[in-house]
Amino acid sequence: MLDSRRAGPVKTSARGDRVFQIVITAFAVSIPLLLVIIAISIGLAAWPALSSSGLSFLTGSKWDVAAGEFGAAPAIYGTVVSSALALIIATPLALGVSIFLSEIAPKWLRQPIGFLVDLLAAIPSVVYGLWGIFVLIPILRDPVAPFLKDTLKLGSTPLFSGPNYGYSMFAAGIILAIMILPFISAVTREVLLAVPRSQREAALALGATRWEMIRDAVIPYARSGIIGGIILGLGRALGETMAVTMLIGNRPEISASLFAPGYTMASLIANEFSEATNDAHLSALMAVGAVLFVVTLIVNALARWLVWRVTKGGAR
């Protein structure tokens, strides 16, 4: 497409043009400005906690408000474990559904199935939480947990040891998997569709079956974009708040068992912020927010860069 906008006759005389330019530039600049203000404001609020406990804020495993001891390790651990669990469940599903939609499904089926998966992203987090409390947790408590423990004999492994009360890392991980599925599948679908036709035709012409074509020609080409989509999903999972707060059990402990309750950084903030009365507690929660901010910033930037590398020269 030719960009003829610049080529148009330039009327520098009109004062309206200059005003208009200034206004839309101001709007555009407000986005970086907003991010800078967010960073400074949270950084300043977190500073007392970060400076007084230093590195032990990240490594300390004791979060005791009454004793004034704030170690964020349990929340960081919970964030990592619940997000990892979500990725382990959601990634194969998202990849499968994307390959199905971009390579295999008949045309009439693509729209409706894609729509159903996309709609998952439209459901509010708090509704996931409600559904999780009253539908998912009872299912996990009864058929699923005994099945994993007794039928599959996983009860002796540390991952599935101990009693399962329902509110657990396990429940949080599963709800997160459902929630990030549409984000991963939207990106992977897009990058798979960005793979040039010639790539597919060459593989088929060399005698590859459809599966070999997908495995050897399509996926390698789209690889960094797919990884970008997965990391984007990770970014969502790390910061997801309401559904996790409602399902994870909110206890600042590190336990190897997925059936044990835990905390994530986001759920810690959501759960304790309204009760935080003294400055030290408040600042500690702000510091947790600052850590979450930095981590999601890095994760998202990385994901965008990976996706951009694939789609840049692709279909669009």
């Binding site: 970086p32 404001s41 708090v126 996931y128 599966w211 495995r215 997801e240 309401m242």
Partner: protein, 269 residues
Amino acid sequence: MLGLTYVAAIIATLPLLFIIFHLLRQGATFLRPSFFTEMPKPMGEAGGGMANAIVGTLILIGTASILGLPIGIGAGLYLADRRGSPLATIVRFLSDVLNGLPSIVLGIFAWEFLVRPFGGFSALAGGMALGAMMIPLVTRTTEEMIRLVPASLREAALALGYTRWRTSVSIVLRTALPGIVTGALVAIARIAGETAPLLFTALGNQFWSTALREPIAALPLQIFAYAISPYETAHAQAWAGALVLIAIVLIISLIARYATRARYAGGGD
């Protein structure tokens, strides 16, 4: 192996069907006309409605739109206009970063920036936090829709002696308007169900309040409070509220999707 992708497609669609099924079954059992007209009863008592929360959510959406739409559309205009400039690249990238920012981080920021200095929770702070969430979404869709406007339209306007800003506003923006409205609806659908930022800004309110400087009730906040309470009657209200909330979100999404489809079907791009 290909068979596995069929399985994945089936499993991936199941959760949505499950959730919709439970929402309809539970919600329809508990949803009464009084839900829309009455105030909430004290926790533990049966009956009552969420009239204040429904109105509160609408007020929050309105406040957010007043902040988010002009900034988002303006920034989108800029990005489409100055596609290759370094500032545009930075703004585009940072708007993606802002889009990926967890809503709870925006929530504590809004508390620190809009609630603490002004001495209290308010609907205004809640609306502004939600508005900030809308900006990146609106920016990107606006940019994309404006790029779809044929260059010949712009050239024709300029050739007729329109100034550049008149061309941008009366020709380009107007042509792209249906697409921009779609983008705005998608953004509204996304923030309508947001809860985390409201915990620290709008706070929620058991009473009738439409004042922007006071704490205000919102559907997602009410659903949250009821869902984690120990009372059966509150759970029933939570389901009814969730059905109403999801209906609002889905209707907005469907309108947006329909509008886009109609556009692409008839459009010449």
